[in-house]
Symmetry: C2
Subunit: 440 residues, 2 copies
């Protein structure tokens, strides 16, 4: 079977089965997402009971124009026969509808598999959120953009065993300005598998970094084979790590989450980053999409000693170390700053810190060879800090060492934090070490 995933991610024409006149039906939302998203190819709504929807001519399932991709958002029981009818006009099918094997209707899955083989038609899903390709203006999901806007264009691609999880992660990505390339919610993996999507992302020129939410793998060995062919960075969010989690995963995706220690071993071998939760996952993807180097020795600059202590604790707790700054750096800092500034690592600029002082300290840390990555603690409650810090920080984002900003929310602070678009910003000091540990 020709399972070129390019047909899914870069189709030139799409037939939408289940396009509906009711504005909030999922089939109609998919149609709207294509139109509103300025998809450049042809879109054919398919519905036997309508002539026109949203200004577009509607086709009958028995008589619609040849299309690269058919997307199916119709009740599960009608999916097999509809695909059967449409198969000879399609190169690939994406089934969003649920109600298949995951609901106990295993025979429907078997029927679909037969149709797929008979017609040499790859079938993605069923039971999934769908997919996106920002570089192709392609939003093939059934959530309205009022709830799940297209994320900003970028080079991070995400595959996910869970539709709701990836929806939430993508919405969040928008709020932290994380640029996304492709998104794949793969559902029941009828015959498009996790490792095939991973393979596609690993080879994709529009993908620099891969995020992977996984409960259980389709075929661990195949996945390792695929992964070994590339050193493109992968960051994993693994759920189903404990007895309780594994049980919950079984009833969620039906996944056999398997032994987490084995999974950890494989990840270590592949040098995949392991995030402990969605927040760390997203911020580590953001860091990794900008900086490729692995980090271990951390330089810290703070304007509040307590936050410096807490960052130091977390760095050590997570198996990294605080850099021992070079004599040159120390000397430079001593001549640059008043006596009250503690020039050891963490550098404590104290409560009189100015944006300029932060600039000098960060620059010194970046230039010091003992430093792999920098944590900057901003406490915007301090009166000499102001919005000038934003440009200073943003300018360092193009340097070759990762910077994570710790800036707790607050009445004035939250506004400033939103402006620091190009760096990962966390609210709490222990999270900075968490993000760096994923790109460790």
């Amino acid at each position: 079977m020709n399972k070129s995933l390019d047909t899914f991610f870069n189709p030139n024409s799409i037939a939408v089965f289940g396009a509906s006149r009711s504005i909030d039906k999922p089939g109609r939302v998919v149609l709207q997402n294509l139109i509103k998203g300025n998809f450049g190819g042809d879109v054919y709504p398919v519905n036997p009971n309508a002539k026109e929807i949203g200004g577009l001519k509607v086709y009958d399932p028995k008589n619609f124009p040849k299309s690269d991709l058919g997307i199916f958002i119709i009740p599960a029981k009608f999916v097999p026969e509809t695909i059967e009818i449409a198969a000879d006009k399609l190169k690939a099918a994406l089934v969003i509808s649920g109600g298949f094997g995951e609901s106990g209707n295993v025979s429907l899955d078997e029927e679909l598999l037969k149709i797929s083989k008979k017609n040499d038609l790859p079938i993605w899903g069923p039971n999934c959120l769908g997919l996106m390709n920002t570089h192709h203006n392609l939003n093939l999901t059934f959530l309205p953009t009022s709830r799940l806007p297209m994320p900003p264009k970028g080079k991070v691609s995400v595959l996910s065993q869970s539709g709701a999880t990836v929806a939430s992660v993508l919405d969040w990505a928008g709020t932290i300005n994380l640029g996304i390339s492709k998104v794949a919610s793969y559902g029941n993996q009828l015959n498009v598998y996790d490792y095939e999507i991973l393979d596609y992302f690993l080879k994709d020129k529009e993908t620099d970094v891969i995020g992977f939410y996984v409960e259980g793998l389709k075929d661990g060995k195949k996945l390792i084979e695929v992964a070994k062919q590339s050193d493109k960075p992968v960051i994993v969010l693994k759920a189903g790590k404990t007895t309780s989690g594994i049980r919950a995963a079984k009833s969620h995706t039906g996944a056999l989450a398997g032994n987490f220690e084995v999974f950890k071993g494989v990840s270590r071998q592949m040098r995949w980053g392991m995030a402990r939760g969605p927040e760390e996952f997203l911020l580590a993807l953001k860091a990794r999409s900008r900086w490729q180097k692995r980090v271990s020795k951390i330089g810290v600059v703070t304007c509040g000693g307590g936050f410096g202590v807490m960052v130091s604790d977390s760095v050590e707790e997570l198996g990294m170390t605080l850099s021992k700054l070079s004599k040159e750096t120390t000397k430079h800092l001593m001549t640059s700053f008043p006596k009250r500034v503690s020039v050891k690592n963490p550098i404590d600029l104290t409560g009189d810190a100015t944006p300029e002082m932060f600039g000098v300290a960060i620059d010194s840390l970046i230039k010091d060879e003992s430093v792999d990555a920098v944590v900057v603690v901003l406490l915007m409650q301090l009166p000499k800090l102001n919005s000038e810090i934003v440009d200073i920080l943003q300018n360092f984002s193009s340097k070759d060492k990762p910077i994570v900003v710790v800036s707790p929310p607050g009445e004035y602070a939250s506004g400033i934090n939103k402006l620091i678009k190009d760096l990962p910003v966390v609210s709490s000091p222990e999270k900075a070490a968490g993000v760096l540990c994923v790109i460790h």
Copy 2:
């Protein structure tokens, strides 16, 4: 010495030494904070070189009206002689200025101590942010309210070894609607000590829960003695847990952070909650100020399976368990919900979840005796969820079981999250278990 801390937290008259004509000098900010904060007592600006500041008559240090409290925001070297001159008109002194022992000027501290003893005058600080009492409209800090607004009035009191840390924590508290009673930044502890402030808070009728940021203790044994007299809940944010952290603490507050294992042992004995970072600290304070019961068995309701799995993992990883729901609960859920809903714990309402369904599920979990606390996962990307969820959740906040909401940020979600004022809301599933573990 009569060290009644009430003079610090409930003064009827305050003399402000260092009140300045320049609007951004710390001494002027303190004055403004008192006036703007509608402090009900008398306020006397003291400055030998001014006649009138901000419409108030200014006094000479040698000739000002008797006051309960003198607050000193003048250069360190002038503090001893000024307090000496003023001592007979004051019941207590609060020294905000830095530049004492913490900067190596140990002799200044010694001088202050002598003056304190000679005049029977307790001296708070030096080198601190100051203090607050929201119930007395008392904001004795030197940060402008544009940077650090008074937090909402409530029953949580916080003492902190670090001024910048507590400033940031208070600003954050406002954003999560955490009601604060008193705040104490105690600086160098010349002769007002951490355990005395703790004692005051433990006995204070306006304080239900205590938050404590600490690097090292003044006198561990005294603190334990004090703590043993009360079972008022205390939540600790301990910094200086590792070799790196202890070193950083030494150069920050000069604290000998000591052995963290010993501190943990004491905290366990006292049943103090231990937060792993400021975010957990604040959310646990919020949870504890509403619910007194300790929690161990957790019920989860989600609308996305993946987030349910991740909550389950974290609950187990942190030493708690997922409740095994009663037969009655399970039966009730089965009759209430369509077949696709998984009625085991975690209850998965799936992508068609409505606010009403959440209401039914949460109500069942609260009524089930096997459940100590509830985690609610909202993924606001799902189209059937809407702002009706806010009132439903808020109504449960008056029930006797803790509820933590997991709702990741997003274009629509972030607006909803801000409206859920009475419950702790976290962005990432692993954090819900983190907060519950602190009130474990």
